[in-house]
């Protein structure tokens, strides 16, 4: 009873501002089409028909960083590629999130040598790490859902 009942009959609904904004952000989060190596194939399999990521809001992958919210770094990052990665991250408009998919992006993976950046968090701040070599599409979906939970917990203070 109370204002919700009355307002509901008139066709209006009350909700906190943070909840509304976070709901909008999680349910239409478009990832940037950025596949580097083997994990990219599992990301494509995650987008394909059997494990469908469109159910969770990732309808399509935008190729341009200017129109995407999420950057899924799938694959090994080399020293030659690292400046390019940072440039793409800077080109994405706020709010943006980063998911580091696979072992090579999270910590360097099995390649501990001169050519591979040991963990992409040396270059940019990461929100969710997904482990696996390569992680199953279900594991990637679990990582995305964890990110959604994190976003839903954001408050006015974190935006400012």
């Amino acid at each position: 009873m109370g204002i919700e009942q009355k307002a509901g009959d008139l066709g209006a609904v009350t909700i906190r501002l943070e909840q509304a904004v976070n709901w909008a952000r999680t349910y239409a989060m478009w990832p940037m089409l950025f596949g580097l190596a083997c994990c990219a194939i599992e990301m494509m399999a995650g987008q394909a028909a059997k494990h469908d990521m469109s159910r969770f809001g990732m309808e399509l992958m935008r190729a341009t960083p200017r129109q995407s919210d999420l950057m899924i770094i799938s694959g090994r990052v080399t020293r030659k590629m690292a400046p390019v990665l940072r440039l793409l991250y800077d080109q994405m408009p706020d709010p943006k999130w980063v998911v580091s998919m696979g072992d090579c992006a999270s910590c360097g993976g099995i390649f501990n040598n001169y050519a591979i950046v040991q963990g992409v968090d040396e270059i940019m701040p990461v929100d969710v790490y997904v482990a696996g070599c390569p992680p199953r599409p279900e594991a990637l979906v679990h990582g995305i859902l964890t990110l959604h939970e994190k976003v839903r917990g954001e408050t006015l203070k974190t935006w400012a």
Binding site: L36, A37, A48, T78, M81, V84, I110, N112, N113, Y114
Partner: protein, 409 residues
């Protein structure tokens, strides 16, 4: 980033034509992040309007230093890294590495292991061609084929998972044979796949082969002649589409391929449409090989008995002292290889994949070099792209079917 483009212009000044320096033609960067370069490939294009005058590939954005890293690990530990080279042909990479070790060490492989190797490698070839078909047609805007091919690929990945526990990077082939025997459900799963797959190939062909838009985007694009292909070192379906019937499984059979009957599809036009037809027919022939291998599958052990290279079964460790000594040596150091060098080559879905292995008598490889087919197949892209539109360049990148993990290693 600014000094990268300045550097690029200064270094490439001797390669671009006079018109670019005067400003008549435009230099455009088709960067490492692009939806239709399959992977991280950078192309510097010189454009006259929409027509490509020249293009310079810039590779190395995925260089992992695998060859140097393998020198620091023992032979069996280095086998884990081989899956990640050409990441669409994992078992094929495993196979050629194990063949090189077996040749250098003079190790025998039981017949059951050879037959199962053939079955899984051919299934891997089908899966690689399915990814090629899905992504190539995705670039040409025939997006629905992508969903269909990845649905079939899931069946093959389920077979991989049943056999080894991992969908993609299985490392199932070991020196001397296989890691372990296949489970009982393997045969039924493969037979189910053989039953449904021919109908699915017919579906793809119904969508594409007579489609006027597809034909217009692929006929007479990127014509390659046979002499040029051999001079530039091109192998695989690109070479077979020019009329040269060269398939290492037929001319130089390995791992028991001589027992199976199959054709090597060739076309004579050498354009993108011909390469598409060759790969579609290759999928059918691979299915034929899988059927024959499964019917003739012999019984027996799946790994060699040579205790110097293959660990003894755990049941023996309780009773035999030699077994304990071999187990200890193999688990701490790894096996010692005789001195010398060999070169082994197989036919991967992209062309001739070879391993040059040199050993100095120790437990770690002294030098491993991978002769990867995509490295040479990409060198010919500037030649094919001259005079075509940028949209045709996208079709050409799909049809040369390179994988950046193969090129950069």
């Amino acid at each position: 980033m600014l000094d990268q483009s300045e550097f690029a212009f200064n270094e490439l000044r001797h390669l671009v034509s006079e018109r670019a320096i005067k400003g008549e033609t435009m230099l455009l960067n088709m960067g490492p992040q692009h939806p239709s370069t399959h992977g991280v490939l950078r192309l510097l294009l010189e454009l006259d309007g929409e027509i490509v005058v020249n293009c310079f590939p810039d590779i190395g954005f995925l260089h992992t230093g695998i060859e140097k890293n393998m020198e620091a690990k023992s032979y069996e530990k280095a086998a884990v890294m081989t899956d990640r080279l050409d990441y669409l042909n994992n078992l094929g990479n495993n196979l050629v590495y194990c063949m090189a070790i077996e040749k250098l060490a003079d190790l025998d492989v039981p017949v059951r292991a050879q037959a199962i190797r053939v079955i899984l490698t051919e299934l891997q070839r089908i899966s690689s061609h399915l990814v090629w078909l899905g992504t190539h047609t995705l670039d040409l805007a025939a997006i629905s084929v992508f969903w269909y091919t990845f649905r079939e690929r899931e069946l093959i990945l389920d077979i991989n998972e049943m056999v080894s526990g991992q969908r993609m990077m299985t490392t199932y082939f070991r020196p001397g044979g296989l890691w372990r025997d296949v489970p009982v459900e393997f045969e039924n799963a493969v037979r189910d796949f053989i039953k449904i797959f021919p109908q699915r190939i017919k579906e793809y062909e119904a969508m594409l082969s007579e489609n006027p838009i597809f034909i217009e985007r692929t006929k007479d694009i990127g014509i390659l002649k046979a002499e040029d292909a051999i001079h530039w070192g091109v192998t695989g379906p690109s070479l077979r589409a020019t009329g040269v019937e060269h398939d290492l499984r037929k001319v130089d059979p390995y791992s028991g391929y001589e027992q199976y009957e199959f054709d090597v599809p060739t076309q004579t036009d050498g354009d993108t449409y011909a390469r598409y037809l060759v790969r579609m027919e290759e999928m059918r022939q691979s299915l034929r090989i899988v059927q024959q291998a499964l019917d003739k599958l012999p019984y027996g052990p799946v790994r060699s008995n040579n205790r110097k290279f293959v660990p003894p079964p755990r049941s023996e460790l309780g009773t035999s002292m030699e077994a304990v000594i071999h187990h200890f040596k193999l688990w701490t150091d790894g096996f010692d290889m005789p001195e010398g060098s060999v070169y082994e080559a197989t036919e991967s879905p992209r062309g001739v994949l070879g391993v040059y292995l040199e050993s100095d008598g120790g437990p770690k490889p002294f030098r491993v070099h991978w002769r990867t087919p995509s490295f040479d197949n990409l060198q010919i892209l500037p030649k094919l792209a001259k005079g075509h539109l940028v949209a045709d360049l996208v079709a050409l990148m799909g049809t040369t079917d390179f994988v950046l993990g193969d090129i950069d290693r």
